[in-house]
Symmetry: C2
Subunit: 409 residues, 2 copies
């Protein structure tokens, strides 16, 4: 296999995760050790930092600080949401040439894979040899060609712990509680709320994914049904729920350069659903909504250990694959090994074109009707999220009444 | 001191906290051990459960499950928001008599102290001997006559960790991020966001408490100033911020029986401020808002160890005080000992009337101008919240440019 000597460049892109810096540090440590890699740089704010030539020397960072960075949420290099024009791609390659960049690792979601794909086409066109690899991250878990993505396990853990506590809260005060979860096209993270359900009667009682059609009347009927059954109702909805025509139920107005509508960073959907229930469900006296927002992707202190470990390893694997020369470009992915039923992550490489701008939805076997998730999903997700705390519950032995209960005004 | 033999009854009231069940378990274990206490019951949903005679026998709960309950957020007995009428008070006393309840412990905020106060007046009127004690809890930290309240430390820890992560998130993608924090009348919890600021340039860059007046134009000017200075702006605002006339900036419409307006469980304020910045601050290109909501008070897995310990101990102290007969009624409170500068909690008793329906605001020495919190607050809050994780930051040694940077469209 062909050897290629030169510098490596790393960038981070898209929405942060709690473990995206684990991948950064995995990349840096493997680049530093490899004899073919003559230096390792970081681009500030991804593609934008390359265009503006804002590069830093990651080889000079201390081992100790890198370990602290690995434990810190969000993109230490700074992130960006920008799809490069053909002109921008040429500019990026000029910067690559000027600094002898022969390895480029872009840590991000499917938009980042698309960027790597465009850069690769541009490099082939001018005959510049550079190995371009997309390193996956996204809390949305919606990349094509993988079992799951780094970042999902920790975000899913946050959602599960949040629902475990909020179920206790809803049990304390009753009423209807609606929580809006991130994930515009795929319901993986919303589905993770299901992990909070341990005992009969636990919430969330209703779970709505963007994979299905959200019917307002059916929703209200189901909320009423749960109120009658449990005396309360805890609901998980994806920010991307939509009607039969595909129209999202509530949204902001901004659109980024990849064509994505802003759904996060606003309480609009939660408030809309709250008002809907108040006006249509007569049994609903107390209705509240929370939008979990950015806490899901960058909370400091709630991570899945398995997720952190895999995020680190996927960075190391990217350097192994790139330097081996077995392929010139590609997208790293995690598959699931099936060794005697125990969970095992496998690190593989997909074509960039497979991942770019594609979305992987929650499959049918993980969905249970129009408003629930299957136990197969729970089995699938558990090793990624790790063991959750166990809530206590009073046995509540009743005391026999000694008075004639009176009705008070 | 007079001895009083009979059953003890425990209730929980108001908004949940992450450690309110520690107080419950502290009460139960001390009641079970005390020779004057012949049994220990729990009222389901506080005062409502007494009126409806929905009582459970807490003495029959297993030690093991009680320990799990202590670690579980929100009110294990169920909570309530209800101010008893004179008729309801008489009914409560009938139930007390029927079950020989001679000790009543009500775990809650100032509304709960008010309820205990009303019950005490009613008991005196009919000459029924019962020892009535309010056991404090509130994430808002706004009870009169104390240094701080159980529940605050854990909620403050959640807010601090959330801001630590969100500061990294805001640093990654830039723009303006506004986070709305609970606390309708007092800014203690909003002030806790300040604990996230470790290094020069860290957010939150602006902190707005309900103790001050919120001026819309001044807010926009300061956001613009921070954008120019830091290239981004992270803002903490209390849900209770109000204008010079005392009118809240945004609110829902519900009012409970204690006269409190609903501010939580809606994204209205965050969305309003977000639109305000978008329309008035030309430099603000990306503006997002999150409302932390109920996660602050009942997240499963983020607690302050000191807070958990004190919540347990305040329950035990309530039983010690009640059974000693040194006072017939009162409200437990935590004061701060001043032994050689190290932190030490002291458990004291206040008059119920001191605590009932009073609000303790953030004092002037903890406030820094119109949009910041002082370092004295940080010193005060740190022992209550505990050690926070330390974020890593790249040294970012710049690489010298080798091209002529070009402007791209």
């Amino acid at each position: 296999m062909s050897q290629l000597r030169g510098h490596a460049l790393i960038g981070q892109s898209g929405g942060p995760t709690a473990v995206i810096n684990q991948s950064l540090v995995g990349l840096v440590e493997s680049c530093v050790e490899h004899p073919d890699i003559t230096g390792v740089y970081g681009a500030l704010n991804g593609i934008e930092g390359i265009i503006e030539e804002r590069l830093i020397d990651l080889g000079r960072e201390s081992r100790e600080e890198l370990e602290r960075v690995a434990m810190t949420p969000a993109a230490a290099l700074g992130s960006v949401r920008r799809k490069p024009t053909p002109e921008a791609c040429r500019r990026v390659l000029d910067v690559f040439k000027a600094h002898d960049i022969r390895y480029f690792f872009y840590v991000g979601g499917n938009d980042s894979a698309e960027t790597a794909h465009l850069l690769n086409e541009a490099a082939l066109e001018i005959g510049y040899e550079v190995r371009l690899f997309h390193v996956p991250k996204t809390i949305d878990n919606d990349l094509a060609g993988c079992d799951h993505t780094p970042g999902f396990g920790s975000a899913a853990r946050f959602v599960a712990q949040a629902f475990m506590g909020d179920d206790q809260d809803n049990r304390s005060l009753g009423g209807v509680k609606i929580n809006v979860i991130m994930g515009r096209h795929a319901g993986w993270l919303t589905a993770a709320s299901r992990l909070a359900r341990r005992h009969e009667g636990d919430g969330p009682h209703l779970i709505y994914l963007p994979e299905g059609v959200f019917d307002r009347q059916e929703f209200c009927d189901r909320v009423e049904e749960m109120l009658l059954k449990h005396g309360r109702c805890l609901v998980a909805v994806s920010e991307g729920i939509h009607d039969a025509e595909g129209k999202v139920i509530a949204s902001g107005t901004e659109v980024d350069s990849h064509g994505n509508i802003q759904l996060s960073g606003t309480g609009a959907l939660g408030d809309y659903l709250s008002e809907l229930v108040k006006s249509k469900v007569s049994a609903a006296k107390r209705v509240r909504a929370d939008t979990f927002g950015y806490l899901q992707r960058s909370f400091f202190g709630v991570i899945s250990e398995q997720d952190a470990l895999e995020a680190r390893e996927v960075g190391r694997a990217a350097v192994r694959v790139a330097t081996s020369g077995e392929c010139q470009h590609g997208s790293l992915a995690i598959q699931r090994g099936s060794n005697d039923g125990t969970y095992e992550p496998l690190y593989v490489v997909n074509d960039l074109s497979v991942v770019a701008a594609a979305t992987r939805h929650v499959p049918e076997e993980f969905i249970n009707g129009t408003d629930d998730v299957s136990s197969a999903f729970v089995e699938w997700a558990t090793p990624l999220v790790g063991a959750l705390p166990v809530p206590g519950r009073l046995a509540s032995h009743p005391v026999s009444p000694r008075t004639n209960a009176t009705q008070l005004s």
